[in-house]
Symmetry: C2
Subunit: 503 residues, 2 copies
């Protein structure tokens, strides 16, 4: 190869036309184009079919339907895309619980959107691993930009934006966010108290808080106290109860290091009184390194709309705040937004040297290396999902979806309130309606749930004060008013069977 051509090829911007595409690459690219178009069509048809109720929301496959029938070895030779998609039809689709179905009211919604999907496709194409700024400048900087946008759109306190000492970071799930902050709290507590036996440390949350606090406290090796809540206070954590337990523990020689408040609990979307909780702890335990964390995994998205922002009053008193745009904000799973007031608390814990990762940008101290804000080293370019969503739907589009979901939940709530056979143990605050048959035992509630699910819906139950309560979680972008009305008719029919018609 002549030196002229060599120079040309090494010139980073002049090399384009110099390199011919070999036939293998050309064939691979064209095959992807062909199959990719078909996959887009498949996805479009899938969402159309969901809207038309082609699929049952719950699959009817038996346990082991694939593990007992599939061969034990992968094929040696490739098959065609068409053959594989036939297997998707016969083996995968029958076993899918359709989370995007208009009649999926179980758990909390994991809502997707076409804009987020398009952003995810682009992320998939780049396939960068953004462990440092240098490894992925666009991924790093766009993450800072969109996390600040998200904070602004939700009117979060300015302590959580990147221009100060805090900032936002995308974690995988709310459990990961919880682990990060509970470990950061433990790390800070060791430094401030000199106590190294982590069993002396205690974390606090209401008995309605998400199970992740128990799981992640166990991982972090610290104790947890679940503070009892009651229907009288709508299952919200009461400052007096929290303080009493913290006092008792400090008298016993233990060290409170972490309080998790929840805005929108999993069972019933209870909202802890954020402002008074923080004020009480700060006032009573000023000398202790107590990390205050708000988990709003589900309900955080509600902060997009002004009429819900009173729930978030006092947030600036908390060290960290987490919510999952992959739940109600149509940012496809996974995308957990974690905001902290002091990013140094994470960096102190997670900074570990690695010679291969050294680079001038990191050493300048001018850039963010998000690997120092999380447990793993690698990270995907997830900022694109949020960027595409903001750009292609606008903040107003996201707000519209939240308001629409809450209005559909309210529609259902009105049906329930008008029927004297039903009781709503907690008020509806966001997109979740909790209900049960008045004065009936738990068995009857389970029979009601099974009956309604048998009509082509998917709901789950929870237990509060040992009573089974049925949860109707509205939030799928595919859900329409007629789905809500049909759901109510199913409830009525099943209630007729169990307790007779309403008065």
């Amino acid at each position: 190869m002549g030196s002229k051509e060599t120079d040309k090829m090494n010139g980073v911007d002049s090399g384009h036309s110099a390199v011919p595409l070999d036939s293998d690459t050309e064939a691979r690219v064209e095959e992807f184009r062909r199959c990719g178009h078909q996959m887009v069509d498949f996805i479009a048809e899938y969402y159309r079919d969901l809207a038309r109720h082609k699929y049952p929301v719950l699959p009817s496959v038996e346990m082991g339907y694939l593990t007992k029938t599939e061969p034990k070895h992968a094929p040696q030779q490739p098959c065609s895309y068409e053959d594989l998609m036939r297997e998707v039809d016969t083996k995968i689709l029958p076993g899918v619980t359709h989370w995007q179905h208009p009649r999926f009211f179980g758990y909390f919604p994991a809502s997707s959107s076409f804009p987020a999907m398009l952003g995810d496709m682009l992320s998939m194409a780049f396939n960068t691993i953004g462990f440092s700024w240098a490894a992925a400048p666009a991924a790093t900087e766009l993450e800072t930009v969109v996390m600040d946008w998200l904070a602004a759109a939700c009117d979060l306190p300015s302590v959580f934006v990147s221009s100060g000492s805090g900032g936002g970071v995308i974690q995988q799930t709310a459990s990961d966010s919880m682990l990060v902050v509970i470990m950061a709290a433990r790390h800070r507590a060791v430094a401030q108290t000199g106590e190294t036996d982590t069993r002396q440390f205690v974390a606090y949350a209401s008995d309605q808080a998400h199970s992740s606090i128990i799981k992640e406290a166990k991982c972090a090796g610290v104790q947890v106290r679940s503070i009892k809540t009651s229907r009288e206070h709508s299952y919200a954590l009461q400052p007096t109860d929290l303080i009493a337990q913290m006092r008792k523990d400090t008298q016993d020689g233990l060290i409170p290091i972490f309080v998790c408040g929840t805005i929108g609990t999993t069972s019933t979307t209870a909202v802890d009184p954020i402002q008074s909780l923080a004020e009480s702890v700060r006032c009573e335990f000023a000398g202790l390194p107590v990390w205050l964390h708000v988990d709003a995994a589900y309900a955080g998205t509600a902060a997009l709309v002004a009429e819900c922002r009173h729930h978030f009053k006092g947030l600036e008193l908390w060290d960290s705040f987490n919510f999952n745009p992959h739940k109600m904000m149509m940012i496809s799973f996974d995308f957990s937004a974690l905001y902290v007031q002091e990013r140094s608390a994470l960096i102190d814990l997670f900074s570990v040297g690695e010679e291969c990762l050294r680079n001038k940008a990191s050493e300048s101290g001018q850039v963010i290396d998000y690997r120092k804000w999380q447990v793993p080293l690698g990270r995907r370019f997830r900022a694109l999902k949020l960027w595409f969503a903001f750009k292609l739907m606008g903040t107003e589009g996201l707000q519209r979806h939240v308001r629409r979901s809450f209005a559909l939940a309210e529609r259902f709530e009105r049906w329930v309130a008008a029927d004297d056979r039903f009781d709503m143990p907690t008020p509806r605050l966001f997109g979740l309606v909790c209900l049960r048959l008045k004065g009936q035992p738990n068995d009857a509630q389970c029979a009601l749930l099974d009956g309604v699910n048998g009509c082509g819906f998917f709901l789950v139950s929870t237990k509060v004060d040992d009573q089974v309560v049925i949860r109707v979680a509205v939030g799928s972008p595919q859900c329409e008013a007629q789905d809500i009305d049909e759901l109510w008719r199913a409830f009525q029919r099943e209630a007729d069977k169990l307790v007779g018609p309403s008065k």
Copy 2:
């Protein structure tokens, strides 16, 4: 609505034609189809452009290029897909480090493939959260199937497949896998020794092991010992050195609980002697609950080909094994495969109750709930990526890619070996070649690295025995023989400038 129609709509398989598509949904679906096709075309052109060297592998943006210029607020109103893609061109592409570029030889490869991308698109469409079998039967069962396929394709010991007491699970990254097993080791050690102060526990690895062991041991609250290695033994951990340190620690009253062996270290792909390490520990410390874990994040994929399997001999003596198909196996990031001999060790640690998640399948004990094998609760349908890759490329296609990458690395190794100005401090075993200018100080090695990177390549250096060593990590499916030859010419030119021509 009449009762006939109501019945029809609630009949899960007869409702399809009964529900008309509203015009909003129709419009959204068709807009996705239009933009999705364009995105597929964009991705196809992107890979074509990479092969043609249209983009420099490293971006030339300044620190803050987006954070300093983007508005502080998200747009209120949406823009068109076309306008957004123009922003991708002007704002994102200039800041992308092109990990899929044919001349990306930095870190380890994070290789993507069109089949894995198609699988990822399907996963994105379903957007299920597979925390239990019931929440996503297809995702759960396909994960079991393909993880067993992967074990068989890599000829892993049968103790790691799902039919016994072990099994495989997809984690996000190797760091997550490391955290999972180190915490499981700690949990088991507490149960077996009665010692609850985790600072008494010690984890061991060579000084060449990945930094994740230091990061995750810190998270788990246990001590770590880095055992020194030497060039004499190709930077492999020596059983005598490990045993000596473990003896010293037990004499000091500490409790060894975890040993991490590495197959293919990050710096130089050193291979620890897996069989003799395990035999030594099992023989010397039979009474201690020492968890043995093999980290083969990069090199594990080499087990796909018979000629590399001798490195993995003795793996059945280890409690757990991890490798990342997202590195060399073209399964797009993220996909870390973790295999354990005793799945109960994970389930004991990570099982936490949650009323909403209760279901008959889980309570039957007949199904796997993978959330009990990991830190987070939620999980994506990542099994589709591996399934698509196995199906559309065949095991032989994956093997071909591994052999091709190693052959390209060998091609480069031969060039280096024939030039007396260069030294290779460690033998090439897989796709990584390590080299330095013979007898030159570290500054000269850095100058060489900068010079070569200035020619349109991306490589990083490491340090072994305080000597800077340049790493050439081959493995991009886009890399061709001519890229290797051009890389070598760049090395020669830069060496000419620094130390004069070769003899």
